[in-house]
Symmetry: D3
Subunit: 263 residues, 6 copies
C-alpha cells in the first residue's frame, strides 16, 4: 500500500505548489504519493509570530481534512513547525511532521554539532525555543542569519546561494558546525550544490520532513507505533466541538464528523 503524504504550505499562494510537488517527488520513496496544498487565505510568509498565529486555524483545517481524506501523513511546511503539537493532538490515524523537528533529529544522528542558517535574526526566538523543546540545545553550534526575507530566497537564487556560502563557511570554521541546516523550507533546492562544495551534510528541511513522515508512517504500519493519545495529545472531544458550533463558526463543516472506521 502506498504512503499518501500531504504537504501543507501554510502560506496563501499556490504558484509554487507544482514546483514543490515535483521537488518532493524527486526525493520521495517509490511507494510514496505526495500532494501539495496551501492555505486559502492569510499571510504569504510566516516570519512574524502574528502571521504564524493567523495561519494556524487554516493549517489545522487542512491537517484534519487530510486525515479525513485518507492521507497517511501531513507535513506542515514551515521551519517554525507551527501548531505541530496541536496537529498531532487532533489526529487519530494520520501522522504529522514538520521541518525543524525532522531536521534536528536527522542532524543529531549525522554529527555532533549543527548550525541553522536563517533569513533574519527575528526568526531565532521561535526556532531556538524549539531547539530547547526538542532537546538539541547542546548540539547547536550557532544560528547564522542571511539578512534576507523568505520571499527573496528564490527571487535571486544566485545571491541567495552566495550568501549561504558565506555563512556556511563561517559556521564550519568559527562555530565548529559539523552539519548545516537550512532553516526555512523556502531554502529548498540549494542543499545539493552546497553540500558538494563544503563536504558536510546540508539538510534541506522540506526533505527532512518528507523522510520523517515516511518513517512515522512506516512505524505505524509495521509496529502500530503512533502518537500516544493518553496524555498531552489526547483527542479533543467531538461532543464539545459540535456543541460549541466550532465547525460552523470556523467554516469547517463536517470536519469533525465521526470517522467511518470507528462506526
Amino acid at each position: 500500500m502506498p504512503k499518501k503524504i500531504l504537504y501543507i504550505k501554510p502560506t496563501s499562494y499556490s504558484t509554487m505548489n507544482q514546483e514543490t510537488k515535483e521537488y518532493l517527488e524527486k526525493y520521495k520513496d517509490d511507494n510514496t504519493i505526495v500532494d501539495v496544498v496551501n492555505v486559502s487565505k492569510g499571510p504569504k510568509h510566516l516570519e512574524a509570530l502574528y502571521y504564524e498565529a493567523l495561519a494556524s486555524t487554516e493549517i489545522l483545517r487542512l491537517v484534519k481534512e487530510g486525515e479525513n481524506q485518507g492521507y497517511d501523513a501531513a507535513i506542515i511546511g514551515c521551519f517554525y513547525d507551527p501548531v505541530l503539537y496541536a496537529a498531532r493532538e487532533i489526529c487519530e490515524h494520520m501522522v504529522v511532521t514538520a521541518p525543524e523537528e525532522s531536521s534536528l533529529h536527522l542532524a543529531a544522528s549525522l554529527g555532533n554539532t549543527f548550525s541553522i542558517i536563517v533569513g533574519r535574526n527575528k526568526w531565532i526566538l521561535t526556532m531556538r525555543d524549539n531547539v530547547d523543546k526538542y532537546g538539541f540545545t547542546k548540539k547547536l553550534a550557532s544560528f547564522r542569519s542571511l539578512d534576507m526575507g523568505v520571499l527573496q530566497f528564490h527571487a535571486a537564487p544566485g545571491t541567495t546561494e552566495k550568501r549561504m556560502r558565506q555563512e556556511i563557511a563561517l559556521a564550519i570554521e568559527k562555530d565548529r558546525a559539523e552539519i548545516i541546516i537550512l532553516g526555512c523550507t523556502m531554502q529548498f533546492g540549494f542543499f545539493a550544490q552546497l553540500q558538494k562544495e563544503f563536504s558536510v551534510p546540508v539538510i534541506d528541511s522540506m526533505l527532512a520532513a518528507l523522510k520523517y513522515a515516511e518513517l512515522l508512517v512506516e512505524v505505524r504500519e509495521k509496529m502500530n507505533w503512533y502518537t500516544s493519545k493518553i496524555g498531552s495529545f489526547t483527542l479533543p472531544d467531538r461532543g464539545e466541538i459540535k456543541e460549541w458550533h466550532i465547525e460552523e463558526d470556523y467554516h469547517l463543516e463536517g470536519l469533525w464528523n465521526e470517522r467511518k472506521d470507528q462506526e
Copy 2:
C-alpha cells in the same frame, strides 16, 4: 492618568464577564480601569491545544483592537498564556501580560519553590514548556492535578476547594512547595481562603496578571521601558498586511490602519 486594562477572556461565552470584572475591580489599583471582553466565537475552554490554536486569531484581534481603542494593557486570560509573544509583537504601545508568566515571576520573588495545581495532567505539557521557556524550572516543585475540567471549577465550588486542599497539602508536605500557584484563571476566587488555611502564598493567576499589567504600564509611563521592538518582537509590516488582504479575509477591517499618533 488612569491605567486602562482590558481583560480578554479567550473563551466564547460572556456569562462570567461581569463577575470577572467585579473580581478584578476588588484587587486593582485605585488608578486602574478594567474592562472584560470575550472572544466572539470558538471553544468554551482551552484545555486542548487545538482549542488554543482556534482561539488565537480572535485573541489577537481583541488585543490589537484594545490597543487601537487606547488601552494601556491587555491581559490574555488563560494560564497557557496563548499567543502572548505574538501579542507583544503586534503592539506598539500597549503592554500585554498573561497569567502563567505573571504568576511565575511573582512566585519566584516570594519563595524558593512552587507547585502548580492543574485541572488535568493533559495541561502539563504546555505549562511545563512555559516554565522552561520563562526560566523557572529549577524552582518548580511539582504539578499536581485535580482531575477536573475547567468548566467544573465553579460548578461545584465546594468540591473544587476540597480537592485543592488535598493537593495543596501534598504539594507542601511531599514536594516541599513554599508557594502554591492555581494553574487556571478559572480557579479564581479560591486563593484567599486556602492561603489562610495553609499559611503560604496561594497565587490567583488572574490577579497576578492584573498586577503585572499594572507594573508594565507603570514602567512604560515612568521610564519608557516597553517591549523591545528590534528583535523577536519587531512589528509586522503594515504594508504586507494590507497587500495580503489580511483584514478582509480575517474580518479585521481597519485593524491595521496607521495609528493616529504616528501620522
Copy 3:
C-alpha cells in the same frame, strides 16, 4: 495609604544620598514615599566579595530597623543583590527587593535576550551565579565590561556614557541583545539618553528595584501575598537571638524585640 520605601545604600558614604533620593522621587509612584540611608561603616564600593561580606551585617541591620520603623519595603542598593534572601528571611511584614533580581524579571517580560553592562570582568562571577539562581541564563546574551570601577562612573560621566555606548552597540549587534541592563546601581542616570539613541529598553537597575518594590507591596496589600515563611525563609528564632546576645555583640540593641503588632 502611602507605600513607604527605604533605599539602603550598602556603601559607607552619604554624599550621594540626597541625589539618589531625588532621582528615585522622579520615578516613584505618587503614592510612594522614599527615604535613602547608607551603612555607617565599611567599604565605599562592593566590587570585592570581601566587601560584600563586610557590608552584610550592616545591610541586615538597616533592613530590620526599616521594618521596625514601619517601612513597607526595603531596596538593597547593589547589583550583587547582597544578602537579599537573608533579608527576606528576617522580615515579617516588609518586602525586600534588589536591583539584579528586579532588572532580570522586568527584562524577561520586555524581550527575549539581554546583555548586562558591568564595570569589570571580576563582577561577572557573582552576577552570573545570580542569573542562574534566578533562572534567566537562557535569555542572557552577554556580559560586557566597561573596564571601569564603580566610583569612576560619576566622576567623568561623559567618558562613562561613551564607553557604555560602545559596549551597548556591540551587545546589540554581535550578541543580539534585545534589552540592555546597566549592571550597577551607580550607573543610574544614564539610561534615558542611551535608550533614546539605541531604541531598545535600557534598564536602570535602581529604578527596576523601586518598581518591583512597589509591586511587591501592592500584592501584599491587596492579596496578602508575602514571602513564604514555611520553608527557606522561615523567621529566625527570637529566643535564640536574645539568648546568644546577638543584639549586644553586633550593636543591634532592641532590633529583635517582639513586634508591637504581635503582642
Copy 4:
C-alpha cells in the same frame, strides 16, 4: 536496490540469531535484507561496563567488515549503544544505528514523556548518560527496573511480561509516561501485547534501530546525507593503522585495506 542491513549481536552466542533474523524480517521494509551476526568471543550479556568494553573491539571489527562486504547499515544490538560513535567514525559509506538512540528519537516524535523499563538499576548510569548526551532528559519520565538480568527475559517469558506489566502501569500512572521504551534489545517480542493492553506506544528497541537504519540509508541514497566526516567523526588514518600493525595485533587482517571504490 535493496537496503542490506547487518544486525550485530554483541554477545558471544549464536543460538538466538535465527530467531532474531526472523523477528526483524517480520518488521522490515520489503526492500530490506537483514542478516544477523554475533561477536565470536566475549561476554554473553553486557550488563557490566567491563563487558561492554570487552565487546567493543569485536563489535567494531564486525562493523568495518560489514562495510567492506557492502552492507548499507549496521545495527549494534544493545541498548547501551556501545561504541556507536566510534562505529560512525570508522565508516565511510555504511550507516550505523543503535537501539537507545533510535528509540529516543522515535519516542520524542510520538509523545511528550517516556519511561524506560530496564532490567536492573545498575544499567541506569550508562543509559541515563546517553539520554543526556542525545538530548532527551526533559522528556524522561522515569527509569523503572524489573530486577531481572538480560538472560532471564526469555527464560520465563510469562514472568517477564508480568513484571513489565507492573512497571508499565506504574510508569503511566505515577510518572505520567506517555510512551514506554523497553530498555534492552532482549526484551524483543513483548511490545505488541503490552501496547495493546495499555493503549500507549511500547517501543521495542531492536525494531526502532531497524527502522532508523532504514531511514538513514534512505537519506543517504536520496539526498546524500551521511555522517559528517569533517569533525568528530573524521575517518582514522589508514596509514597509521597499517604502520602500527593494528590489523595483525587485533586479528583484523585486511580490514583496513583501501576501499575498491576509492582506487
Copy 5:
C-alpha cells in the same frame, strides 16, 4: 615541611573545639598539623541565612589572620560553605576549603549519585544552590531531612543515629543513592558505623574538607597551582581597605598590613 591547617568553627562556642581537634587528628595526614578556632561572637548554629551573614565578617577575620600566622590552609566548618569564595579572594597564599564543596567533589569520584542528609528542609535552599553552583545537580539523588536542629545531633547521639539510619535506607532504596553525604559538620562521628552497616561510602563532611585542604596545599607546594588571582578572586586593594578604615571599624587592626614576604 608540615601542612598547617586551621579549622574555623563559625559558631560562637569553644566547648567542642578540643573534641573537634582530636577528631580531625585521627584522620589527618601524618605531616599535617591541625588547630581549631571558633568565632568570638555570633550565633551558635548557622541554620538561618541571617546567622550565616552575621558570622561572615568573623569567619573572614579568622581566615585572614590564619594566613598572616602562616597557616597553609583554612577550613570553614559549616556545610553551607559560608563566604568560601570571599575567603579565597582575600588570600594570597593560604588555601581555603569547605565541607559541601569538598564532599561533593569526593562523592562525584566515588559513585554516580548521592543523597545529602540534612537537619531541616530549610537548609535545602542554600545547599541546593551550592550543588548547582558547583555543578553536581545531575548526580544529586535527593535531600533527606532528619527534622532535627544542629544542636540536637550530639545531644542524643543514639536518636540521631537512628534517624540517620532511617533516611539513609530510604535514600538508597527509593532514591537510588550510591553515596551518602552527611550534610552538616556537626554530624561528625557517625559515618564509620553507618557506612559499615549500609556498605556504601558515608561522607563525613568535616573530614572531606580536611582531605581536600591537604590536597590543595599539596598541589600548591608541588606544582604551584593556587587560586587564580586574575579574575573573580583578585585580591581586594590594600590601599582602599586602609583608606576606608576597614580595620579600625571592624576591629581588624593590622589584618591588612603588607605581608612580610612581599616587602
Copy 6:
C-alpha cells in the same frame, strides 16, 4: 605504608615510560611509589574514538593486573579518560583516576572558569561530553585547539609552547578563562613555564591525575571511602567471567581468580 601508584600509558610504545616515571616522581608525595607501564599492542595515540575502543581491553587488563599486584591506585593516562568508569567497576580495592576528571575537579576549586587547550577540534566531542558528565559545563570558558597531533607535542617543543602561548593568551583575554587546562597528558612538561608567564594556574593533567590518585588512596586508607559497589559500579560476577572463558579468549589468564584477601 607507601601508596603504590601505577601509571598506565594506553599507547603501545615504551620509549617515554622512563621519562614519564621521572616526571611523576618529581611531583609525587614522598610516600608514593610510581610505576609506569604501557599497553602491549594497539595505537600510538588515541585521537580517534576507534583507537580509544581498541585500547580499552588492554587498559582494563593492566588495571586489574595492577590491583592483583597490590597497587593502591591506577591512573589511566589519556585525557579522554578512556574506560574510567569500567575500571572503577572491576576494582575491589584499588582506586582509579584519570586526567580529565582530576583536572576538572582541581580547576573547579581554583577558579571560576577554565579553558582546555586541545590538539585538534576532533577531540572536543569526547572531552565536552565528559565535561557535561562530570558536571562542569557552566565553568567551561572554551576549548582552544593547537591544530597539532599528540605525537607532535614533544617533537618540536619550542613550536608547541609557542602555539600554547598564543591560545592561552586568547583564552584569558577573549574567553575570560581564569584557569588553563592542558587537555592531553602528552602536553606534560610545559605547565610550569607557561603558568609563570601568564600568572594563572596551568593544569598539567598527568599531575592532576597523580594528585587525585593520592587523595583517593588517602580517603580510602583513613576513612574507608571507596567506590560505591552497590549501584553503577557493582563488581562483575566472577562466575560468569570464568564460565564464559573470558580469561582464555582475551589472554587474561588468572586475572579473575579470587583475591587472596577474600578467601
